[in-house]
């Protein structure tokens, strides 16, 4: 046996060396050109929102020395609004608030959704049935109505964290479904059995084995959740059911710009709109790139 046992592989026959899983993931991600470009843009947007206010002389508030309705110029690159607000400063604040909401929602809803989905998939049986029926109920409830009603009920003026909590509490269902599906297929794998027979508690198995092994699904969903949150928050704010002045949000800015898409104040309308699109678009591409990198089966776009 020993004579022929060792498979001898010529060095040149080995074309690709064993690489760490994460290194592979990174390599695949960086091959997704749209995702990489998007990541760069997204980082710039984040810097704009969080670092920008320290560098720019105007904040988002109304100042008497700012002229009203000034077209974009060096003094006010994004122009000013009717009340005399520097739009660059306002954009920084609005983007920051919208991103705050989006990031908290992404984290919060992912935690809720992942746990919910993992529990449903892990226990199956009646626990799963009950949890799934509840998801059906959530699906039937009109999202904008319930989140709007709750936001409208807040007595003080609505701040970004109010919106973040409300959106997170109602926005986790898609993650729960995705994680449950993944857990259902994982559950049969040996290592879960091994962990069980080793006497691990259910909670231990769920948090230490199931959730880490559904990480790729969770990370992708959490990323896409940022886009979902930013669109929901701005929509609610636009409808007057979200963040309220004196605070600001991209949705509020567009609402204030109202019908100026084709008049001389076009910049008031397009700049915040493009910012929302930029964030949601880059996030979707990043999420797509991550899905490509971590789960090549589901490739949607190549290169």
């Amino acid at each position: 046996m020993s004579n022929t046992a060792a498979p001898r592989l010529d060095a040149e026959a080995i074309t690709s060396k064993e690489r760490g899983q994460w290194e592979l993931v990174f390599r695949r991600f960086f091959r997704h050109r749209a995702a990489v470009v998007s990541l760069v843009i997204f980082v710039v947007v984040v810097l704009f929102a969080y670092v920008g206010p320290f560098l720019w002389k105007w904040d988002y508030k109304i100042h008497s020395e700012i002229p009203s309705w000034a077209a974009p110029s060096l003094a006010h690159p994004f122009g000013t609004d009717k009340a005399g607000r520097d739009m660059l400063g306002a954009m920084m604040q609005a983007t920051k608030q919208s991103l705050n909401v989006a990031l908290v929602v992404a984290i919060g809803s992912t935690v809720i959704g992942a746990l919910y989905g993992a529990v449903a998939g892990f226990y199956r049986g009646w626990v799963d049935s009950v949890l799934m029926r509840f998801l059906d109920i959530m699906f039937v409830i009109p999202f904008l109505v319930i989140t709007g009603a709750l936001a409208g009920a807040i007595d003080t003026s609505v701040r970004w964290y109010h919106m973040a909590i409300i959106l997170a509490v109602f926005g986790w269902t898609s993650i729960a479904r995705a994680v449950r599906a993944e857990v259902l297929s994982l559950r049969e794998k040996e290592f879960i059995e091994a962990a069980r027979s080793a006497g691990g508690s259910d909670w231990h198995i769920i948090t230490k084995h199931l959730i880490p092994n559904t990480m790729s699904v969770i990370i992708v969903s959490a990323t896409l959740q940022i886009a979902f949150a930013i669109l929901s928050e701005t929509t609610l704010s636009f409808l007057g059911l979200g963040i309220q002045s004196p605070d600001t949000s991209l949705g509020l800015l567009i609402d204030a710009a109202g019908a100026s898409a084709f008049n001389e104040h076009w910049y008031l309308f397009y700049i915040p709109g493009v910012m929302i699109i930029l964030i949601a678009l880059t996030i979707n591409f990043i999420g797509d790139g991550m899905r490509d990198a971590m789960d090549p089966r589901q490739t949607m776009v190549r290169r």
Binding site: V140, P142, T235, S260, A261, A280
Partner: protein, 341 residues
């Protein structure tokens, strides 16, 4: 089949009940219209409101009882009522806007306006999504594919309210350029729903086009991505290869074997698209000044009009559930492996 539909319909009742209970609790607990009204009156008259007025308000809106009791009476109308409440008896409950704004009347006049918009938009978005997804898949990695994929991503990232405002102003500009009112950008029609169906349709067409377009673009992006993925998967399947090996022409294979099978998973997305369009309708209606259900729900939320909000929740829930039912039926029609027991 009939048995299947009846069974599924029965299964929807607990879901609907659960949804209304949850919504009722949240909406009801989160506002107090009596207090708001009292505050309003005090503001306008400058005098404290007598307790008797408060009691009367409470009694007429059923705020003299607990939340569970109020839900129960809203649902059944059983017990001590003013004969204006009880869903099961066809009464929607009192609106805090007074009896001039009777919920039932409002809703029945607005329902068709919204449904028409939502249905047109959903059907159009599914149709276009299928088309775009299939073209994308068949021309995988071509310039067309990349363009369509990018457009899909773009519309996925575009907030409906922004797109709506843009299109509305765009239509206004277009009207100016053309010197005539091709697109109506405010309201949903001149006749309401009088006259025969065709006349109403023709009348409302100029009003309908732009909002439908907006909703449609908002909805199509997500589905087209799934249609593309599903089509690609089927195109690489063994049975499509076998069909080609039999000598069936490529175009026929795509139509008869690939598309036919790739449509199955998309049936799942129909209810999702429908519920998305219901939400989107709130936005487009408010932008285009429609007197539809979506705007009604927004006003109700702002006014803290619990029974009116609940009416919207119920109707939107029923619409979505009917969408689910249709998609289940469609699923069974498209896929012989699914049987209605």
């Amino acid at each position: 089949m009939v048995v299947f539909i009846i069974r599924r319909t029965l299964m929807m009742i607990p879901v609907l009940l659960g949804a209304t209970i949850l919504c009722f609790a949240l909406v009801d607990l989160s506002n107090d219209p009596v207090q708001d009204r009292v505050f309003e009156i005090e503001q306008s008259t400058g005098e404290p409101v007598p307790q008797s007025t408060i009691d009367a308000l409470e009694a007429s809106w059923y705020y003299d009882r607990s939340v569970p009791e109020r839900y129960w009476i809203w649902l059944t109308g059983l017990g001590d009522t003013n004969d204006d409440i009880g869903l099961l008896q066809g009464k929607w409950g009192p609106s805090i806007e007074g009896s001039a704004m009777d919920i039932g009347t409002e809703i029945s006049s607005r329902f068709w306006i919204t449904l028409r918009l939502v249905l047109f938009a959903t059907i159009a978005s599914i149709g276009i999504a299928i088309l775009a997804g299939v073209v994308s898949a068949v021309k995988q990695y071509s310039r067309t594919d990349y363009t369509l994929t990018f457009l899909g991503f773009l519309f996925l990232a575009m907030p409906i309210f922004w797109l709506g405002s843009l299109f509305k102003e765009g239509a206004v500009q277009l009207n100016k350029i053309l010197g005539s009112t091709v697109f109506q950008t405010y309201g949903s029609g001149t006749t309401g729903f009088q006259g025969n169906g065709w006349a109403v349709f023709v009348d409302s067409l100029p009003y309908l086009i732009v909002p439908t377009l907006v909703l449609m673009l908002g909805g199509y992006a997500a589905i087209s991505r799934y249609q593309r993925a599903s089509m690609l998967e089927v195109m690489n399947s063994d049975y499509v290869r076998l069909a080609r090996a039999k000598g069936v022409r490529n175009g026929t294979v795509m139509r008869r074997h690939a598309l036919r099978t790739a449509l199955i998973p998309v049936a799942t997305f129909a209810p999702l698209a429908l519920s998305g369009a219901m939400g989107g309708a709130m936005v487009t209606e408010s932008i285009f000044g429609w007197r539809g259900l979506g705007v009604y729900s927004l006003d109700a939320i702002n006014a803290g009009d619990t029974f009116a909000v609940m009416a919207y929740v119920l109707i939107s829930g029923v619409v979505v559930l009917i969408g689910v039912l249709i998609s289940d039926i469609l699923y069974g029609v498209l896929d012989p492996r699914i049987r209605y027991e």
